[in-house]
Symmetry: C2
Subunit: 80 residues, 2 copies
Amino acid sequence: MRATVLVRPKPGILDPQGQAVESSLRHLGFKVSDARIGRLVDVDLATDDKAEALAQLERMCEQLLTNPLIESYEIELEHA
Amino acid sequence: MRATVLVRPKPGILDPQGQAVESSLRHLGFKVSDARIGRLVDVDLATDDKAEALAQLERMCEQLLTNPLIESYEIELEHA
């Protein structure tokens, strides 16, 4: 089963990369505010069970993919 | 209008960060394959018109947010 994990800086956490992108977009003439940069992880899981996949992905996020102090995550499952 | 741009390495483009994550996940005991790392940009647009927002986001992607040679992007709009 294919899944995507979206990782974002938590509200209130400084995001200098997002500030740089926002400033650059404004210089290019775009009317934007509050740009934030996160990352995404696409991964193929061996299991096809949705509950099992979610449980595994949550453990991956806690153990490796995110820093829970400063980042929040969102899990999206795609059916194969 | 709030929008999210998902940026991924194109198929065939080497993704050493994804390989490192995949290898680490396996060492932790997860059965995964083909991990790929991308990034996401959350941004607030001044416009509330969907077509206008999409057009602006495509221009942002071409001008600043992505490298079209090696990355693909996907735009998600959220209504305010």
